[in-house]
Structure formats: structure tokens, C-alpha cells
């Protein structure tokens, strides 16, 4: 019994073993590499994407050989030339960009009052209710939500059933551009509100009261005080909503029913419908470049970095 008590417990032996192992692997003198060792798994995981992107870039420079239905070995810019020459791709790109711009503007318009109400309401219960109403759809996923809209807006859906019940005709509410835009706005709303919240919470209510105390009405207080102070949040939310919309697949497919393809659908079709991986890869590269160009444009206009993760001590 006495010997058992003097011997170190299993826990301490384990810890000591690990400490010794660590000293062997990383001598105290070389502790500088610990940070990099910590980063290694994440760097490797994200590396999977980098390699995948590398493959896509490689594919994009090989044209399809119609005879064998494989990509030719020779390098060429033929796929990019096809993208520029065929009006169908220009139309798809234009439709996606216009959609992204519309969805961003409308989503921010709706998200801002929602986030504002949440940060300013005095009632804790109301705040919680608004948070739950936001998080629930956020966690339900795009396919299920789009399916819900199909039930509501479809040919025999809720709205058309009500219209028919009132003796009015039915409306074509799905499989058009408007339905896609509406579905996307509803999908993006939680993202936008969540990104606006910290910015709005950082604005002291006193500043608004001061503005109103000096005789400004709430509209001018919003325009000249609240909106400028919330700019970092608006830009962050705008960029996220814009890029997510530009590259979305499910909403245009489900609510557009193949009539209003966005770029992602065109990429999917290149790979799986016409089996032209080279062309699909070129479209993917174009999408990444155009998306990055717009983000860079936003940042240069706004001149702030709101999206960095971790790090800086606040």
C-alpha cells in the first residue's frame, strides 16, 4: 500500500511521458517552431482546397477532344476563348452579377432594421425571440428552405390555393428570376444580420440621442450617424452576401427550375451534362477571378479590413 502511494499516479506518469516526448521532439531552444506545428493540420486541410484549385487551373488549359471525349494533352487557351465568344456564358454571368447586386442591396435594406431592433430593444425576451427566428433557418439549410418555398409558391401551393379559393386565377410564382432572387434574399438574411450585429452593438445609443437632441430627426440621424458608424459591418455583410449569391447553386436550380442558371449551374452542367471538364474548369477559374475582383473593388472603395479572423487584441 505504502509503495503504491509513493509511486506517481498514472496521470502524472502520462503527463511526464508527454513532457519528455515533447522535449525530445521539440527541444526548448527550438520552441519557435511550436506555432508552425500547431498550424500544420489546418494548413494541410486547407491545402486540399489549394490542390483542388490547382487541378482546376490545369484542366482549364486543355480543350476537349470530341473524338475521344477526353481532354487533349496540348495546352491552349481555347476554353477561355469559348467562354468569351459564346453569348450564353455572357448571359449567365450577367444574370448572376445582376442577381448578386440586387440580393445584396435588398438583403442589407431588410437586415439593417432587424439587426438594429435586436441591439436596441429593451426586452430580453424579444431579443431572444429575434435571435432564434434568425438562427433556426440558418441551421435548416438551403435545400429544405427552398422546398418550403416550393410548397408555398408552387402551382398548387398555399398562395395559389388561396387565390383560387377567392375565385381569382393562379399565378406563376416559381421558375422565374423573381422567385430565385426572393429565395436568395431569404437565405442570405441571417448571414447579413449576424455580420451587422457586432457593428451596430458597437454604436453607443448616446450618440443617436445626442444627434436627436441637437434637432435631427431619426431619418437624418440614421443617414448621418448610424449608417456611417455601421459601415464596417455593412461592407462585411455586403461582401459575404454578394459572393455567396454570385456563386450559389441550389436556389437558382430549385426555385428557377433550370430557367435561370447562375454561374455555378453552368459549371455543373459543363462537368456533368456536356462532360467538358476543361470548359467547366475555365468557368470555375473565371468565377474565382471575377468574385475576387469584386471583393477587391469593395475593399478599395471601403478601405477597411473587417473580415480577419482571430489575432489582433481588441
Amino acid at each position: 500500500m505504502a509503495s503504491a502511494q509513493s509511486a506517481p499516479s498514472l496521470f502524472w506518469r502520462l503527463i511526464d511521458g508527454l513532457e519528455a516526448l515533447l522535449r525530445r521532439l521539440v527541444p526548448p531552444k527550438r520552441r519557435g517552431v511550436t506555432g508552425w506545428l500547431f498550424l500544420a493540420p489546418a494548413l494541410l486541410l486547407v491545402g486540399i482546397l489549394a490542390v483542388g484549385l490547382g487541378y482546376i487551373i490545369e484542366y482549364s488549359f486543355h480543350e476537349l477532344d470530341i473524338a475521344t471525349y477526353r481532354l487533349k494533352d496540348a495546352y491552349s487557351l481555347g476554353n477561355y476563348q469559348t467562354l468569351i465568344e459564346r453569348p450564353v456564358y455572357r448571359n449567365v454571368l450577367w444574370r448572376s452579377l445582376l442577381g448578386a447586386a440586387l440580393v445584396t442591396a435588398i438583403t442589407l435594406f431588410f437586415a439593417f432594421p432587424y439587426a438594429y431592433a435586436m441591439t436596441r430593444t429593451r426586452s430580453a425576451a424579444m431579443r431572444k425571440f429575434l435571435l432564434i427566428a434568425l438562427f433556426l433557418p440558418f441551421f435548416i439549410g438551403q435545400v429544405v428552405r427552398a422546398y418550403g418555398w416550393l410548397i408555398i409558391l408552387g402551382k398548387q401551393g398555399v398562395i395559389n390555393a388561396m387565390l383560387a379559393g377567392l375565385g381569382l386565377g393562379t399565378l406563376d410564382l416559381i421558375y422565374n428570376y423573381g422567385a430565385v432572387i426572393f429565395g436568395l434574399i431569404q437565405y442570405m438574411l441571417p448571414f447579413a444580420v449576424l455580420l451587422l450585429l457586432p457593428a451596430l452593438a458597437a454604436i453607443p445609443e448616446d450618440v443617436e440621442m445626442a444627434s436627436e437632441g441637437l434637432g435631427a430627426n431619426w431619418v437624418s440621424t440614421f443617414r448621418h450617424v448610424v449608417l456611417p458608424m455601421a459601415k464596417p459591418g455593412l461592407i462585411g455583410a455586403g461582401i459575404v452576401v454578394f459572393t455567396l449569391t454570385l456563386t450559389d447553386f441550389a436556389m437558382p436550380e430549385i426555385l428557377g427550375g433550370g430557367t435561370t442558371d447562375f454561374v455555378a449551374s453552368a459549371i455543373y452542367d459543363s462537368f456533368f451534362q456536356i462532360s467538358n471538364a476543361g470548359l467547366g474548369a475555365a468557368l470555375s477559374v473565371a468565377l474565382v477571378l471575377i468574385g475576387s475582383a469584386f471583393v477587391a473593388l469593395f475593399f478599395s472603395i471601403a478601405g477597411s479590413t473587417t473580415l480577419d479572423i482571430g489575432g489582433e487584441k481588441k
Partner: protein, 266 residues
């Protein structure tokens, strides 16, 4: 309209409109899943649980559900060590090339999902692991990893480094400090991150579409494929699984860390 009355009318009208729009699909799906009729129509042909009953017999959906849960567990299990260590590295260590690392670690968010999905599909195909289930989990982990790093680094920046120094000063080695001081301090972040990773993996559709085939199809893809043919109430019943999971996730998140954490100014 420019008085304070007008302000609250405007703010709350928009807010309630948003609440209704956000909740409408959820409410309608729950309602439709209890219909007694053959098709979804309004008003429904009475109430019944027959579509839930029918669901249990459809192995296509139940198998897809189990695969989804497996894939999401793989995703969460991979993301915890990778995310925790990466967050500690970016918060605790003075690394060279730090801005470049931050840009690199955000690649999953900056590369469009459709491109990430196809890139992984191509590479996994070359490695001959496409068609297995675990790579789907790894793929879902990669595309959402920044959420995990973000959640943990938020906790890690709140931890005073002097606490770790004090433990070391009292004779604790680096391993001891890590397990008794650092890890407990970032546990709330790990829980938030793990919850997010899991629920987002359960929901992820586009990347799953590229990485699965007819034998490994997961639930979001199965639902999507079924939507295309004909709308039947069994689809509403399986969608209720998602609503229940989402409710559980929101409840857990609120209990464990409090939803109000998202209201904090950074």
C-alpha cells in the same frame, strides 16, 4: 413619419416582415408533413402521421440520414484538433507571414463552394478515394474550418497569457499547461465551433453533391434529387428531421454559450 413614432413603426414593420419570411418555410413544412392526403394541398385532407410511417420504410432516406450523421461526425472530429491548434497558433504565437497565413486560412470562404467541391472531387478522384464516405467528412470540414478557428480564437484571445506563464512558473511543463490552463479556457469556443461544424455539415448540399454518388448519397442531396421529380408529403416529413436538428442546435447553443454572444461588439 420622421418622429420617433415613425421610427419604431418602420423598424418593427421591417423586422416582423423578416421574421415571417424567415419562418414561413419552416412552419409550412411542419404543417405539410402531417397531411393525410396523397399530395400536398391546402387546406390539407386532414391530419395523420402516415408520411412519417412511410418514411421509416424508405431505406433510401433512412440510409441517407445515417450517412449524413456519420459524415458530420467525421467532419467535427477532424475540425476540433485542427481548429483548436490553428486558433492557438494565430492568437498565441508571433508567426512570420501572419497576414499571408490569415488569407490562406480564409481560402475555404473565399473560394466559391462550387469550385471547392469540384476541385476536391477531381483530386479525390485521382487519389481513388472518391466514393468512400470519410473523404466527404474531410471535405465538409475543410470548407467550414474557418468557423471552428474563429470560435476558438474568440475564446483564446480572452485568455490572459499571464495565467499560462503563472502555471509554468509554478513548475508545470508545456503539456501540463496546455491541458490544465489553455484547453479548459478555450472549451466554450470548442463547443460553439463543434456545434457549428456539425450542423453545417448536416446541411451542406453543394459540396456533398460533388463528393457523393448513388451509393454514398447523403440526406441533403437525397432531398434535392427527390424535389426534382414530384413533390410528395414524405419529403416534408424528412425535412422535419432538419427542423428538429436545427431546433436542438439552437437550444444547445443557447444553453452552452448563450445566443447573445453574437450581439457583442468586437
Amino acid at each position: 413619419m420622421t418622429g420617433s413614432r415613425g421610427k419604431s413603426v418602420f423598424i418593427w414593420t421591417v423586422t416582423w416582415f423578416c421574421v415571417i419570411t424567415l419562418s414561413a418555410p419552416t412552419v409550412i413544412i411542419i404543417g405539410a408533413s402531417f397531411t393525410a392526403g396523397e399530395i400536398i394541398q391546402f387546406p390539407p385532407d386532414g391530419l395523420s402521421l402516415r408520411w412519417y410511417d412511410a418514411l421509416i420504410g424508405q431505406t433510401a432516406f433512412t440510409d441517407a440520414l445515417w450517412r449524413t450523421l456519420y459524415v458530420s461526425l467525421v467532419c467535427t472530429a477532424v475540425s476540433i484538433p485542427a481548429g483548436v491548434l490553428a486558433a492557438l497558433a494565430t492568437v498565441r504565437y508571433r508567426l512570420r507571414f501572419r497576414p499571408a497565413i490569415q488569407v490562406y486560412l480564409l481560402l475555404p470562404f473565399t473560394i466559391p463552394l462550387v469550385v471547392s467541391g469540384i476541385g476536391m472531387m477531381v483530386w479525390f478522384g485521382e487519389l481513388r478515394i472518391l466514393g468512400a464516405l470519410w473523404p466527404v467528412g474531410v471535405g465538409l470540414c475543410v470548407i467550414n474550418l474557418p468557423f471552428m478557428i474563429w470560435a476558438v480564437s474568440a475564446s483564446a484571445s480572452a485568455l490572459d497569457p499571464e495565467l499560462e506563464n503563472a502555471a509554468a512558473n509554478c513548475g508545470a511543463g508545456p503539456v501540463m499547461v496546455f491541458f490544465t490552463v489553455t484547453l479548459p479556457a478555450v472549451t466554450p469556443g470548442i463547443i460553439t465551433g463543434a456545434l457549428l461544424m456539425f450542423i453545417l455539415a448536416v446541411n451542406e448540399f453543394l459540396v456533398s453533391l460533388f463528393l457523393t454518388d448513388s451509393r454514398t448519397v447523403t440526406l441533403p442531396v437525397q432531398i434535392y434529387n427527390s424535389i426534382r421529380s414530384v413533390i410528395t408529403p414524405d419529403l416534408a416529413a424528412i425535412s422535419v428531421v432538419y427542423i428538429v436538428l436545427a431546433l436542438a442546435a439552437v437550444w444547445l447553443l443557447d444553453r452552452l454559450v448563450g445566443l447573445e454572444i453574437f450581439l457583442k461588439s468586437r
